[in-house]
Symmetry: C2
Subunit: 399 residues, 2 copies
């Protein structure tokens, strides 16, 4: 016999509790009567659940509201600093850490250097140490840490949480949860870095009111994530949004993946640096002593200073990215596309160029409904998103 | 105050009724005790709902099941031919009609010629006449028709049901529901043709067990539809899946949309016919007397007979389509991609060529998890899908 969706009714008590907690979060301050009115649950049932939530410390009394005839009702709100979650963003040469409380308030942030590609186990040890230190320094009791979210630049199997492939870390089929046993007995959630950014934009960023949006990040590679109908869209095995290797120009340069003209081979921090190095060798950029020390920030800086060669690198990149965005607009029909990480460094005129290509190449109707914006969150978006995972779990969202 | 998801609790009675009806559908034959067990509802509550469903005629008794100790339980099933829905598939020069009963059984199918582009109102009148005739000929009482679904080759605003743009019909901003007032007081659901095909494959076709899949149809143009996490993914305003105008080759031929190298400009029935006409003019194909009468079927036939020029047209088309499919595999990570309508006419070796391009150009991990298949449903998939819309509504699915 197939278990239909009605099978969930058995968990109705649990669903009711997380639903009320979520309503208290989204309404900021709310009375029992209002909760009963919104949910259709009886005042008695609401009273029981509220008592339970107070008992666990998730919520607290927050004064009284306005009267609708009788006694002025007690309002409830989330208790700041009652429960916490930790987010870690792993990349090739650094880790970022976020400590967030149940209300979404950031209590602590840090960034440390590491070398994952060269010594994974040493880097993992560093991460564990840092997590233990954060817990200790903030005197967080064991049952008050909702979990640790880890953002990884790679494809994650969303059922097993196994990291299938993270080329820049040199990882293939890695179970990070097992490797992090030293951190203690906490729930660990591993997720893709672009997906973490989308969770962040949707929870505390510029997509709080969007149900269908796309986040595109550029670091060493290019990744994206798709929010569909209010949820992260993962595809059948967790790799949805991997636009770094869509073919943008069949006659383009060879990509690390073996194909030709992938988006990442045409647009990425690494590609831009390689282009700049070539221009230095050709004598077209003369502002560098050490060709190997050129970073993408140098290119942004030079372009800002009026260097035409550096500007052309950015214009070309924005053009290819605009084309890829046009294809996403047609295929995914998002209301917003958020450009994050290195992409926020595009100057206004480069962004306008990118947008004009995207709009010109996309169909008129979906192009008229989409807004392409730079993220205001910046480099921390994946670490913040990773910290949001345990919160979303608490508030009853599917991940 | 924001209305949270818990606001749905007010409709719990209605949700319980559709949930039980859906469980009876998916389990084929089921007893009240089993329904109570699956749902967690009390036997009394299940009894009331079952009595209600019997009363409305949706279900009937279907003999007795095996005993688990006490009396042998009565089994319930959907009542064949109790309720009906009609599906219409509109295209440039024909309409297809399907009459389906509550169990998904096709009771009647037909195809008639028309000329929507030349005379819309005459074609609409023809459609209305046909619908009224079907209802009359099958003696369907007014309250036994669940609704009429209409499949249209164009972009539909999924909130207003307005047809935003259907280039091949010459329609822009058309409200078909208003135009069909003559058909009588029935619920009318308008949907995109590729989305209708996906509904069909998911309800009665090769994707009944898939949650994340893509359907790609080729007729005069190319459209696709995306099923994400078990539901049709529409995007923010209904146009998701419009892959006909993604850029496949920036240096490709000019497309009707004004851009260059769109998939549709490289691969579509129309493009293939134009290529064949060019080859005839060049004397490379000599099998046609009237160059204007060449159809895509002629090309498939000639290629099947060993004509190398015709074969090259198909190989080229399959190559471009393979590239677009690779991009979809990376972006959407589906478990299945179903090729429908004209695409089912590709011979086995052309399909193999298409698949090999798709797999070679896509990332290894999502490529290893996807199956690319030709639809077994054929030309009727959109009409069937349109008929399934009112059924899905009855069984409590969101559309």
């Amino acid at each position: 016999m197939r278990l239909g969706k009605a099978g969930n009714n058995k968990l109705l008590k649990e669903i009711n509790e997380t639903s009320l907690l979520e309503l208290i979060r989204t309404n900021k301050q709310v009375s029992k009567a209002e909760l009963a009115q919104i949910t259709g649950l009886s005042p008695t049932a609401c009273g029981t659940i509220v008592a339970n939530l107070l008992d666990k410390g998730y919520i607290r009394e927050a004064g009284v509201g306005t009267s609708k005839g009788g006694r002025r009702p007690i309002l409830y709100e989330l208790t700041p600093k009652s429960y916490f979650s930790i987010g870690v963003d792993i990349d090739v040469d650094y880790m970022r850490f976020i400590l967030m409380d149940i209300t979404g308030q950031v209590e602590f942030r840090d960034k440390i250097s590491c070398d994952f590609a060269r010594d994974t186990s040493e880097s993992i040890r560093l991460m564990e140490e840092k997590i233990v230190e954060i817990i200790k320094n903030h005197s967080i009791e064991h049952d008050r840490l909702l979990g640790v979210g880890v953002s990884v630049p790679g494809m994650i199997d969303n059922l097993t949480q196994e990291i299938i492939f993270a080329p820049n870390l040199g990882w293939e089929r890695v179970n990070l949860e097992h490797m992090m046993a030293g951190v203690g007995d906490f729930s660990i959630y591993v997720d893709n870095e672009a997906m973490c950014s989308a969770l962040c934009e949707n929870w505390i960023g510029c997509c709080m009111d969007e149900s269908d949006f796309v986040c595109i990040n550029m670091k060493s590679g290019i990744g994206s994530s798709i929010f569909a109908a209010g949820n992260l869209y993962r595809g059948c095995c967790g790799s949805a949004g991997e636009i770094g290797h869509i073919t943008v120009d069949q006659n383009g340069p060879r990509c690390a993946c073996g194909n030709y003209g992938c988006l990442e081979a045409l647009v990425s921090a690494r590609t831009m640096v390689e282009k700049a190095q070539k221009l230095v060798r050709q004598g077209l950029i003369t502002d560098f002593e050490n060709i190997d020390a050129i970073t993408v920030d140098d290119i942004f800086r030079l372009a800002g200073e009026g260097n035409e060669s550096a500007r052309i690198i950015l214009v070309e990149s924005a053009g290819y990215l605009g084309l890829a965005i046009a294809n996403l607009i047609n295929t995914v029909n998002p209301s917003k596309i958020v450009l994050g990480k290195e992409l926020v460094k595009f100057s206004e005129d480069i962004m306008e160029h990118l947008k004009s290509i995207a709009v010109a190449k996309a169909l008129k109707y979906p192009a008229s409904r989409v807004e392409v914006v730079a993220s205001k969150i910046g480099e921390d978006s994946s670490a913040l998103g990773a910290a949001i995972i345990p919160l979303k779990k608490l508030f009853g969202y599917r991940l």
